[in-house]
Symmetry: C2
Subunit: 181 residues, 2 copies
DNA sequence: ATTTAAACTTACTTACTAGTAAATAAAAAT
DNA sequence: ATTTTTATTTACTAGTAAGTAAGTTTAAAT
């Protein structure tokens, strides 16, 4: 019992995050699955349908992930979020937001909308744990929770990007800065 | 007396930063200049030749820019660097590093090399003014100058990316965080 | 004035891309 | 067993991409 649809999404997700949305084709996917490119169109008629579904996959993966952390202390949840990005760093791949944001203007409206949704979902979650953690005294940053959330997410996103270009361990340094206070 | 070569670089730079490297073609450029696409190939036989030249253009622009600041106090130089990114934000475009890093693996070796060079040039400059500014007591951040430089550059780069996706003013919040301490 | 070089255009080629229509195979439902 | 639905292939189309070879115009040098 195979799950071609799921596999297509998984491969597309990987291609988008390693090579970018405008640098992969349906043939790249079909070759990996030993099917014909028309079979990919059967599941996702247009490339933007596939792109949209990849983002939705990332959204539901995110929900599942943070839900499994919701009994942990706020600082541990933040550490987990950082560690999750570190795994990506080790594979030299970026998050879907870092991959798609630069080509935002070339994306179909449905993909743009879904990407905006995803960014908001991540940031609202971050703001929430940063605010609660500050109230409970675990965090003692100076900015507003929202500003801190922007800083954290920006740093993580860009650390993965710089990691591709530079030899240095940008990620380690940024991780320390985020957690320092 | 026209400067077709220079115009091509200028337009390519703009297209890369607004739409991405893999989403523009020589025809996009030739149309804007009312010439044929083969004329663009005359100056830059391969797309990667043009890409490389765009990065070199950005490197020399950077050198010129920071050189014109080098008598200013270190904190003012940092503010100028932030303000320079803010102009990009207003045009909803990203820096060349933010545009190319996600598709790094799809780039020709000459572009990869030049992009690595540019990243190092920026970071070395940032590390320098952050270190000197700390010594002279203008800055009082806790991390190493290198770690702080990574944080600053990451934040600026990603703020421009998030600015495309979100309606909120990510840039303003991040700017405050960077300068806060 | 004529040669030479630079800056193009014309006219292609090859390769790939997204996407579709129609036929076929496999699986599930009746 | 046969119909129906799902999954897939075959065989395309139309469009665009990068890149090239050969010719033409324009400008500069001699």
């Amino acid at each position: 019992m195979k799950n071609t649809r799921g596999e297509i999404i998984r491969i597309a997700d990987d291609l988008i995050r390693t090579r970018g949305y405008n640098a992969f084709s349906y043939t790249d996917i079909s070759k990996q699955l030993n099917i014909k490119n028309a079979a990919v169109h059967y599941y996702f008629p247009a490339k933007s349908d596939l792109g949209t579904e990849v983002i939705r996959f990332r959204i539901s993966d995110f929900h599942q992930r943070v839900q499994s952390w919701d009994t942990l202390p706020y600082d541990q949840q933040l550490v987990n979020w950082i560690t999750y990005h570190q795994h990506k760093k080790e594979n030299k791949c970026v998050c879907i937001l870092g991959a798609l944001a630069p080509v935002y203007d070339t994306l179909q409206e449905n993909m743009q909308t879904e990407l905006g949704r995803f960014s908001n979902i991540i940031l609202e979650w971050l703001i929430d744990i940063l605010a609660k953690g500050k109230q409970s005294g675990i965090f003692n940053y100076k900015e507003s929770p929202r500003a801190k959330a922007y800083l954290v997410q920006s740093s993580l996103l860009a650390a993965l990007l710089l990691n591709k270009v530079l030899d240095d361990d940008v990620f380690q340094a940024i991780q320390n800065s985020i957690l320092m206070q």
